[in-house]
């Protein structure tokens, strides 16, 4: 009974064959699960980035402003539309409650996307391909990205950031 104390010697009770088989199968599955994460870093192309730096929110804010000034090609509502050259360092700034700027990228070109926030935490979720990364104030998270299809992508904020959180949407245009 699971509610009664056990008399000494219980360790010697042999494990039944069926339970041994189950545990062995489960253990093999666990080992496979353990191996697959590092293995995917070797053979896969869908891994979280390990490149990140410490940066003061004011500095990130300034860098984003400079980036916008340098490559601005137009406006959409209150947002600057920015078209950086292939291979450039590009910036995406989260703040309450917007993603700046609107990025215009070229398909099959590689960019270094710097992601951060200048106030509270935000979450970058790219719709409809559903890729999610965290924007943490004080950290520059560098994601090396290569858009592989053209179209308009939305950036949904998926980390609660205040009462207007659900209105925090951004845009990436891939041509």
């Amino acid at each position: 009974m699971s509610v009664q104390s056990l008399q000494p010697g219980w360790w010697k009770t042999p494990v039944h064959k069926e339970e041994r088989i189950w545990i062995t199968v489960a253990l093999i599955w666990c080992i496979l699960m353990t191996l697959i994460m590092p293995l995917w870093h070797v053979v896969g192309e869908h891994n979280p980035s390990a490149e990140y730096y410490r940066i003061a929110p004011e500095d990130f804010d300034k860098l984003t402003d400079e980036f916008i000034d340098k490559y601005k090609v137009g406006v959409e509502g209150d947002f600057a539309v920015v078209e950086p050259p292939a291979g450039a360092d590009i910036f995406l700034r989260g703040s309450q409650w917007q993603w700046d700027p609107v990025l215009k990228l070229k398909v099959n070109e590689t960019y270094r996307l710097h992601l951060s926030s200048i106030d509270v935490l935000h979450g970058m979720s790219i719709y409809p391909i559903n890729l999610n990364f965290e924007a943490v104030p004080g950290y520059d998270y560098v994601l090396t990205i290569t858009p592989t299809s053209t179209g308009t992508f939305n950036i949904i904020c998926n980390e609660f950031c205040g009462i207007s959180h659900h209105n925090m949407m951004g845009k990436i245009i891939v041509q």
Binding site: P8, G9, W10, W11, K12, Y52, Y53, R54, I55, A56, D59, L63, D89, H114, Y139, D140
Partner: protein
């Protein structure tokens, strides 16, 4: 931990003693995740390099 007047007279298995030693399990249960998750994590966070974009 050990039952002194064990009827069979056989020594109690080391594993039984280990599993009965809640205090030792407590030390290990705190120590292992604290080391692997918390302390290692704090080290990782504080060893984040400064951004090369800021001079």
């Amino acid at each position: 931990m050990a039952q002194e007047n064990d009827s069979s007279g056989e020594p109690i298995s080391k594993w039984e003693k280990f599993y009965d030693n809640i205090f030792l399990l407590f030390i290990l249960g705190m120590g292992i995740p604290f080391t692997l998750y918390t302390i290692w994590g704090v080290y990782e966070i504080f060893s984040t390099p400064l951004s090369p974009l800021v001079n």
